[in-house]
Point group: C2
Chain length 366, copies 2
């Protein structure tokens, strides 16, 4: 069931740019949450009250702030950026943890278990999802909230699904900005979940401090199916579902990963990535995972790598956005849209050298 | 010894854009080749005679054509592209083979041995080098010609060193265009040599049909030191120097590579990359390497992958060149040069959100 609809709350005069796609997530038998998300209605965007609302950790206001940021409309861009500007001084003091893994690795169950445990320790936990494919598969509003039922009900948690489907770059910008808003609202552990498909891990890696790769024990051929590149992004590999009669296989998989990690580059300077096991069902390994993350934060903070990475991420994001924008406006020109396929054709049949075609396209004298 | 000088041949009215850097290469004791390259002098660029000269495989004319292509001057760009345009219909019918490996792997000795063997079989062999670091290390005119003494003297070979130092992108464009010129001159095996440093392998991969990674047996820890990414670009791994008391170690290294290749992605669809040994000293394995390359060409041609890759390479090159040119002219604007560091500063101290800074930079209304 896919149903494109406008959320109950939307800025005055807004159009379809606020449409949200509601997709049925993985159904849990225990789920009793309504199929429709209720968001309070407001009639206009008041930056000052949004800023105050976010700062006082009003979850409804935080939701609205994120919705504003996620709007694809030019007229909301300005307001969203103004909001961010005012909240920037209150952001930054969290640990940003990326979590990836193939569908079925148990990411949601893990996040539910890990999140609740963190809240018990006194942390405030925000969960964001980045998934360019969310509108066509799963991982949407209902999916996430259904799968993380207890966590989503807790007063100290905040769960926000992927922005509406779009190009990964756009989704990434929105998630980056949502992280800042969540931090301004006082969430000090931010979990960014992504499904292990293609580019999205690299994107998440570029916005988090710590990257956790979730795996499950397979038929002994762990290493064959995994992309080396993704392992090399990870600061920790967690073999999930180490419970019941699966414990031994999970331990074996852990060892295989630890062997393989010998031969691979580590994601973070002066940090040795290793593999551990955990069970989201009975909670074993959860505490140890958090201790590893704490150690990571302490040692990278001491060495300066923690801050340095955030600065680099920010600079790279800035550069990427500039380049994307410049190229976007170039390719948007009707002159370019017309010439491009013609030149492409000429190149493919060997009628024009590539550099000459480029010169022609840029309207330089050839 | 580094000596920046103008070649004896240069178009009329040319300036320092034709300067070539002459660097001493690895000295072979047997070398008796003069330290200075002799190129015939001409006084003006006559496209028609260059086209005819290249088509009739006049090596001097081919050299001149490449020198024209390599010029960094705007005024020669037009003529160079016109030359290429006229020669394009005669290009394409070769196998383009990339050869990479760390310094000391024996690439030049292999190319000398392999090239001479190919000429014996009736092929015409052109050797191009792509090495952005050539001006500061080795691999220049004299280096290459000295190290491939017999091959460089042979009437059926053509050896051309790296274009003068520059950004990799620029060097790459020139090498791509040189490939086309060599093909138009009737060379049917094009060897593109690069040294294993950073980006250059990816660049060479993007312009060849077949990519050969040259390795030597080390102290048994072959796999530790190699970047997985480079192995995943290769269509064949050649363990060189399998001669004398090194044979056993080379065989062992070969086996290790073959094991490792199990776990890695292959560079070419439906082609299984494997490792073999060879000796450039006594010629063992040379024939087998050529057979592998022949099989590669036959099977990828049959499946259409051969042509498809060339088309994709051309399209990607076109797109890359467009993007580079567009971004280059954007960043060249003095307004941008001024604002960029100021905005960067504001971002780093958290005064401005990134997307707002980008909007400001692009002079959009924020």
């Amino acid at each position: 069931m896919t149903d494109k609809r406008k959320p109950e709350w939307a800025p005055e005069g807004s159009g379809t740019e606020f449409a949200s796609r509601v997709v049925v997530g993985k159904q849990s038998p225990a789920s009793s949450i309504s199929q429709h998300v209720t968001v309070h209605q407001v009639k206009h965007v008041d930056i000052t009250s949004l800023v105050e609302g976010v700062k006082s950790c009003n979850r409804t206001m935080l939701s609205k702030a994120i919705t504003l940021i996620e709007s694809n409309s030019d007229k909301h861009f300005e307001k969203g950026q103004e909001l961010l500007k005012q909240l920037l001084p209150y952001s930054g003091s969290s640990i940003r943890i990326g979590i990836t893994g193939v569908p079925g690795a148990g990411k949601s169950t893990f996040i539910e278990c890990f999140g609740l445990w963190l809240i018990e320790q006194g942390y405030r936990v925000a969960v964001l999802a980045i998934d360019p494919s969310s509108s066509i598969s799963k991982g949407s509003i209902l999916g996430d909230k259904t799968r993380m039922e207890l966590l989503s009900r807790h007063a100290d948690s905040f769960i926000r699904p992927s922005p509406n489907a779009g190009v990964l770059g756009g989704v990434a910008r929105k998630t980056r900005e949502s992280i800042l808003l969540c931090e301004a609202a006082g969430y000090n552990v931010i979990l960014i979940e992504t499904v292990g498909v293609g580019q999205s891990e690299t994107t998440v890696r570029s916005m988090v401090d710590f990257f956790l790769l979730m795996q499950i024990a397979g038929a002994g051929d762990e290493l064959q199916g995994i992309k080396k590149g993704i392992i090399e992004l990870a600061d920790l590999i967690v073999v999930n579902k180490a419970d019941g009669d699966n414990i031994q296989r999970a331990e074996l998989a852990k060892q295989e990963y630890n062997n393989a990690l010998h031969y691979l580059r580590h994601a973070t300077e002066a940090w040795v990535t290793k593999a551990v096991t955990c069970s989201s069902v009975n909670g074993t390994g959860i505490k140890e995972i958090w201790e590893i993350i704490q150690n990571f934060k302490i040692s990278t903070s001491k060495s300066g790598i923690f801050t340095q990475r955030r600065t680099t991420q920010n600079t790279e994001w800035f550069n990427t956005l500039i380049n994307e924008s410049v190229l976007h406006s170039f390719y948007q020109q009707s002159r370019i849209k017309e010439s491009l396929p013609i030149l492409q054709k000429k190149i493919s049949i060997g009628e024009l050298p590539v550099a000459m075609a480029v010169a022609e396209l840029l309207n330089q004298k050839t």
